[in-house]
Amino acid sequence: MLEPIGILDSTFIHNKNIGHSWGYGNNLVVFPTKFSQSTTLAGVPCSRKNLFMISWERTLYNPFVRKLVNESCGAFIAIQTRLGKEAQVSVSELVQSSHQYRCIINACIEDLNQAADLAETNEATQAIQEMSEIFYKAELVWNLCEIMYLENPLGILPHLLEWVRIHFPNALEETGTVLASPNPEFHESYWKALYGLVFQLRIDSAIKLLRIHSGFQTDAFQSAFELLKKMPVFSVNSPLSAPEFTFRWNHWKEECESRIHAGDFFDSQDLQLLMEILCGKEEAFEKVADFFETWYQRMITQLTFTHPTISASSLGDQADQFLAAFTGFDDLSSLDATLLAVLRRDTRKVIGEMQGVLDNSWFTAHLADLLYHAGALQSFEDINSLQLRETLLRDYAICLFSHQSLWSVGVLYLDHCPTVGSATLEHLLTRLPCQSELKASKLIALAERRKLTSVVTSVCRVMGRNALKNGRLGAAVAWAVRAQDAPLATYAADAVLERYLQDSDFTSTDLLDSLGAGLLASDRLAFLGKYREFHRLYSANDFHSAATLLISLISSRIAPKYFWAVLLMDALPLLETNPPVFTSDQTYELMQSLQELTSSFQDDAEPIPHPNCQLNSDKTMLITLALSRNLAKCFVQQTGYD
């Protein structure tokens, strides 16, 4: 077993040495190996030499999570757009965004749970359930962050209680079970359910449950009922100010305590315990300690009955104490550590903890962005908060870039990283394999919009090479021009000329003719363009212009020498016209090039050129003859003018 990745393969048992190498994105190739670079090289006798491709952070690639990726991107962009218009986003708007993110997470959890039910194998179900759990934890932490960072720090406890109500639905579930039983008051969980309702301040439900008890009419029950009904509750929308509430609360508590002392509940231990809980007595909570699943559930419940108006700033210390008493700090799970950090409002720790766990880049990126806009990241002294936000957004974008289609979402996040975004995008875009023209065009459009010229060049160059390899020469030329890659353009233009020699026809001419100024990317390409023009002029019977162009191609030396023979043969029909289209000077020019060609050809050690490029004695004779005849015609014509 290769740890900690968990590959079960016998090859790893025989060999403890592991080699690895990176793939694109979150992929790694691992293999058993031997590193000893000494002379002894007896390999472990093992028939198969296997490699393993491993990958991580794949949760976001799951089809059921796709909606979360897309919708959260929408929410993210909405915040950034609002910021573009206004200098600052108000807290209430941020709370709204936070709600939106949580709705997206919850929808995703629901989709995953449904998918888990429909999965065909146990393994698949388990894998989806694990994913669902990741998002469940994310939502739990996110919600707490929303309360601690975005809500009014004075009335914090009602929010926390709401958080507990949402995430610990067991109180209601238990009540349901009790009520569904034939004789609820004798159900073993009757009192546990009742306490559970009281813990979450679901007083109305608690009273209903109390009413169905056969002893409800007794004095003890009536007294408890009255106190429960009178209990002042500090709520988010309470019209009472904190001191006013505290006054009433203390008064009510005194009454509870005096009734306990008066022995009102002497007959029922269960009621006695209920009253002690209401009074926030530590011993009472000790007795029901087992009813709490987590330290934070107990903390928030207990504080509700001891310090209902506690401020956010005191929560950190309380959390320390409760956690120490409940589980201790050894073996703290990442989730506990994160929640503790949130309660302490230790933002760096919150993000650091979540960052340390795989598959959380979605969470850290979006949360950090929200906290950044809320000003909550400012608490870091040595790290610039903007930089921190950027690092996290970038990590998320990198994760998206590892997927064949999600990368385009990643681009949108990098757009909002002012310092490293552009460089990262440049790096990542050039590494995306572009198998199709469509994808290449998409990449180029993206890069051009962001002024990433190197990406454009790189994509064009790679596409040009591919086109060349596949024999699509016109496309190769076009890509080379776009890349402004002169050597590649020359190479492609040569290939086009070579094919012309073979087929005596130009392929993909329309592409070439549409290049316009792009033809200037290389001399060879410029020649190709001009040569095409020569053909056009010729077929349009504009022999004078065609002749002049042909001469200029040779005299300017823009035509590659290997192609001169072809040009001279092209001149043949023009030389035969009467009256002549070549002037005497032009004819001399042609004669000179013919001479240069015949004298230089022998010492050329180049590989054997295409037959059309070779000047054999027949061709030479033919051209020489035509040249002399043309010269003669020129003289006759000139004499005529004279």
């Binding site: 290769l2 900690p4 990745i5 968990g6 403890k16 040495n17 592991i18 080699g19 690895h20 190498s21 990176w22 793939g23 694109y24 994105g25 790694l28 190739v29 691992v30 190996t33 031997k34 590193f35 670079q37 090289l41 198969r48 030499k49 296997n50 490699l51 393993f52 491709m53 991580w56 794949r58 694990e130 759990e133 469940y136 739990l140 610990f168 699943e293 987590t294 989730l335 506990d336 993000i351 650091g352 960052q355 340390g356 795989l358 790290i383 690092t391 996290l392 970038r394 990590d395 990198i398 552009s422 460089a423 440049e426 790096h427 590494r431 394999p433 010229t453 790189s458 090479r465 390899k469």
Partner: protein, 311 residues
């Protein structure tokens, strides 16, 4: 959650020493003690053998892909003291260049950032490092750093071409010509940084390991001025060396002390994750958190802790 997405039976007849994915992650090259280099096309989780390159006369230690803008080019180095540069032309792999100017096993090859052209650094057991550059005329030119590491050089890794202040440069569209640098590690327990200054000069000597340095990897630093080098050694430690991009001093920090010799360190494409493997039968992934802590993100025990209401 780390999962195995595919298994490749390489068909090698002896131990595999290196495996490298190409620039786009579409091709995989492997090399082995059976003296061969193999190339596979990787598509949708399946691999097909595309080439079996024979030419070395000893175990092949390492391979490296050149940037695709130069075409499909692969370098390999071997116990036979040779470095071979292979090139695919019209679907056929040919021996493009063979360099045989080392006196002992060549242990490591690494291509320079593509911005510099086609340049390869090779580290050898003879203690020297060769730098091979393709010339405009189509040939190759070699420079050699003799006695780079006493007893032997085990690893070479180039610094990214995008130097400090890259963020400013890219926004203005102007790029300054960066200085060529690479790092090497050797049997003298040292990690050395080299700079090209007409000739290659030793710019920094990083002392920290107490046994042979087995690998060194220069982190890609995208848009950041800070540079990081990771090195690993037979002393079972991985050390991270950081330079702020302004001063000439390097700070060292031990990432972790492992249970056995650490043979290999490498950075992800974007430099945000470091992978470490060695003789302890483990591969681990490390990442720096915002707290400045390097944490092992592949540790399966982290992230456990059940959520309420999910039991």
């Amino acid at each position: 959650m780390v999962s195995v997405i595919s298994t490749v039976d390489t068909g090698h007849e002896d131990m595999i020493h290196d495996a490298q994915m190409d620039y786009y992650g579409c091709r995989l090259a492997t090399c082995s003690s059976d003296r061969s280099v193999r190339i596979y096309d990787v598509k949708n989780g399946t691999q097909t053998l595309a080439a079996d390159l024979r030419g070395h006369e000893g175990p092949v230690w390492q391979i490296a892909w050149a940037h695709p803008k130069f075409g499909n080019i692969l370098a390999s180095c071997s116990y036979d003291r040779k470095v071979i540069i292979w090139k695919e032309i019209n679907g056929q792999w040919i021996k493009f260049y063979e360099y045989a100017n080392h006196d002992s096993s060549v242990n490591s090859v690494c291509w320079a950032p593509h911005d510099y052209g086609l340049i390869l650094a090779c580290g050898s057991s003879d203690g020297s490092i060769s730098i091979l550059s393709a010339t405009a005329a189509g040939g190759w030119e070699a420079k050699k750093i003799n006695n780079a590491h006493t007893i032997g050089c085990n690893a070479v890794s180039w610094a990214p071409a995008i130097g400090p202040n890259a963020a400013f440069d890219s926004s203005s569209g102007v790029r300054s010509t960066p200085v060529k640098r690479f790092v090497s590690g050797g049997c003298d327990n040292l990690v050395k940084v080299w700079r090209e200054d007409k000739e290659w000069v030793e710019e920094a000597k990083l002392e920290g390991h107490s046994d042979w340095v087995r690998d060194a990897a220069w982190a890609p630093s995208i848009g950041l001025s800070r540079t990081v080098i990771a090195s690993c050694s037979q002393d079972r430690r991985v050390i991270l060396w950081t330079n702020d991009g302004v001063s000439s001093s390097w700070n060292q920090r031990v990432l972790h002390t492992f249970e056995d010799v650490v043979w290999h360190v490498s950075w992800s494409v974007t430099g945000n994750i470091l992978a470490v493997s060695g003789g302890d039968n483990k591969v681990s992934l490390w990442k720096e958190t915002v707290e400045g802590q390097w944490v092992c993100i592949s540790d399966v025990n982290r992230g456990k802790g059940s959520a309420p209401g999910q039991q």
